[in-house]
Symmetry: C2
Subunit: 410 residues, 2 copies
């Protein structure tokens, strides 16, 4: 196996180290020499903590992808178009491809599998969802036997860390985010994490596998955590809840829905106790029942471990695990038909506006309890249409009020 | 694929149903006809809830195992010698074998793998540990990349159900066991479950995989739950603990130890909240970190799901996952060198005996707190040698006192 490694960032560095450490064991087990022949970097002169022979380093991606000696490409450059182009070129030159790039997998899933199958190469993407948790292989295997009833999980470690900190240390959102940035859990532009887009991509990949339909991330309703304040965390704590950014999908007759949104889980629920930056996924199948996996969702070595697990599948000549798009029997429902109980906090400027809002809610017949929390109003609704709540909140946003809403777990 | 199914009990019935329900989907996916050609039963005339064509039923095991048309044997008859003989015969006739039999796997692991490799057949044993939790495949894959630091888990659903019930409903051991028997969670002779032998076998298989050394079950120190009383559950609850039957193994320098014993876990620990008959396993590797799996550890369909997952590996021509016995670098340590804090309850008949015991403990310099719980004495030791505690308790047993001891989780 001659490897071309695209990207020597955190995960790329981890892959390099694991391969160097385990190479001899694998060579003897699989009877094949293993070699990282070329490594693509952006900056040839950057100082690195990892010692790599300078002769294998290059900044010319196409040289690696077209190198006839290289049989396996590991793509870890991230992003969409460029990565997609390189992966497809590599497959078309008969190379196996392993990626940890959730953007490209979620957007180009159909095309990637088609290209791999057409060219008879292995396409591995275990590292694209939840780092050290082997959810891709597990879910592919589950759904070969089971009808998947639901998937639910905390798929984003950064938001879990922030919410966990807010809850434990009674600090506000901004400070908690800042601390997450300081220790490297959150990026300087945290949008993808805190607005839920990272979890949305991961959920899109999981749904695509579970339901054999290529669900693009942007189809999934998505609400982040940036409007949750210390006041909310403390108010829901008194009600016995812990807020988590949940990604979930559920089958309903001939449809399934999917959503990423903050969810209040009972403090005794197993999901309430996921610490720090960990991830947890639960999948329910009609035969296997509920299976939960819980582990390191990100980080150098856990994610590199997932990349390497695909390499070992190639060495062991295991069949790759692909969904069968086009064979799925369920349609995607979006937000229509979905219901839930919601916690809503509104901090308006004028009492007159609150009154008109309350009147509106009453007109619409959403049963709910309303109480004051200092200057704010907190509403806890009975089961109501998810879409209605989202529409309300959109209307409130347009009025430029500060507000926050979270679904209450069933 | 022409299957010979040995055993049509709970799991066998589940396998039959899943194969019948999914057959068409798999035939189209894997391009191969799938057929359960023969089924071995003990009693040809027994009434069954499952409808099976009488022409496929037989009570002659050797006919199935020697049938040249059958290429895959599923062994679900349980027990040791007979099952071993049939599996080996099947492999020697070039048949793939899938088993859910933890007794035969744990005792004959070396021989089974050797025979499979020698005959170039697939040997699948996912169903031998923890039913619906895919721990065998996951652990095999983890340890191909990682050094396994520890394994710990609640591997036996029956004892978890009994202890859970004692804890929640404040009832004694005997009543809780009786109720577990009534709903079918415990067998009429519950010894294998409640004395820990079932968990001991499962742990033996997991250690053998993790450490590449065939560890026989009887090597693992094992203590069951039958001496835990309602008084113990209530006493430890006041200290903030929940008792669980734990199976664990841990690497220490060039050694590893393993043990099955009741362990007191903090009530907020994730292991404290495993409900009813569920199982949970945590494995820690140097790269992947801690991975936890949690699901249905037994039952018709979850276990049948595991059997079927091996069938799909055969259909998909995946490589089987075997430990490499002989390559393991760690030696098994047994109880030597292991330490822990222990909870001990002694209900002796005579104060004089208690006094002599206390004197003995003091002489041995085991630091501990001692307090009275009604007529009993409860001791909570500081870290002490596991072997010393086991020796004490053995001595007490010989004096025919009632007693109970449980390790306190670190």
């Amino acid at each position: 196996m001659k490897i071309g490694l695209l990207g020597l960032g955190t995960v790329g560095g981890g892959v390099y180290r694991i391969v160097e450490n385990c190479r001899e064991r694998w060579e003897s087990k699989y009877g094949e020499k293993i070699n990282i022949k070329s490594i693509l970097v952006k900056d040839m002169h950057k100082k690195r903590s990892i010692r790599v022979d300078s002769s294998v380093i290059t900044d010319k991606a196409l040289e690696i992808v077209k190198d006839p000696e290289i049989d396996t490409i590991i793509e870890l450059i991230g992003g969409n178009d460029k990565a997609f182009e390189l992966i497809v070129k590599a497959m078309e030159s008969g190379k196996n491809v392993v990626t940890g790039n959730k953007a490209v997998v979620s957007e180009q899933f159909t095309k990637l599998i088609e290209t791999a199958v057409k060219n008879g190469v292995y396409f591995g993407y275990e590292a694209s969802v939840c780092g050290g948790i082997p959810i891709i292989k597990t879910l592919n295997q589950m759904k070969d036997i089971n009808d998947i009833d639901y998937i639910k999980g905390v798929l984003n470690g950064t938001t879990n860390y922030i919410l966990d900190k807010m809850s434990r240390e009674k600090i506000g959102y901004a400070l908690s985010l800042k601390q997450a940035q300081e220790i490297g859990y959150a990026e300087s532009d945290p949008t993808a994490d805190v607005e839920g887009f990272d979890a949305q991509r991961k959920l899109a990949i999981l749904c695509s596998i579970a339901y054999d339909i290529h669900l693009k991330p942007e189809m999934i309703p998505c609400m982040g955590i940036s409007k949750i304040t210390g006041k909310d965390v403390s108010a829901v704590k008194h009600m016995g809840y812990i807020p988590k950014l949940f990604a979930y999908a559920k089958k309903k007759d001939h449809f399934f829905n999917a959503c990423v949104e903050p969810v209040l889980v009972d403090r005794n629920d197993v999901f309430a106790n996921i610490p720090g930056a960990k991830n947890m996924v639960a999948v329910n199948g009609n035969y296997i029942g509920e299976l939960q996996l819980d582990g390191e969702g990100a980080g150098m070595f856990p994610t590199a471990n997932a990349v390497v697990s695909d390499l070992l599948d190639i060495l062991g000549k295991s069949s790759p695990s692909y969904p069968e798009f086009g064979r799925g029997k369920l349609s995607f429902l979006g937000m229509e038909g979905c219901t839930g109980r919601y916690y809503v906090r509104i901090s308006p400027g004028e009492n007159r506006i609150i009154e008109s809002l309350l009147a509106e809610i009453e007109r619409e017949n959403v049963e709910c309890k309303i109480f004051k929390d200092r200057d704010d109003l907190i509403m806890v609704t009975e089961k109501t249409s998810q879409k209605r709540i989202y529409d309300y909140m959109k209307a409130i946003d347009e009025k430029n009020w500060s507000n926050c809403f979270m679904r209450i777990a069933d």
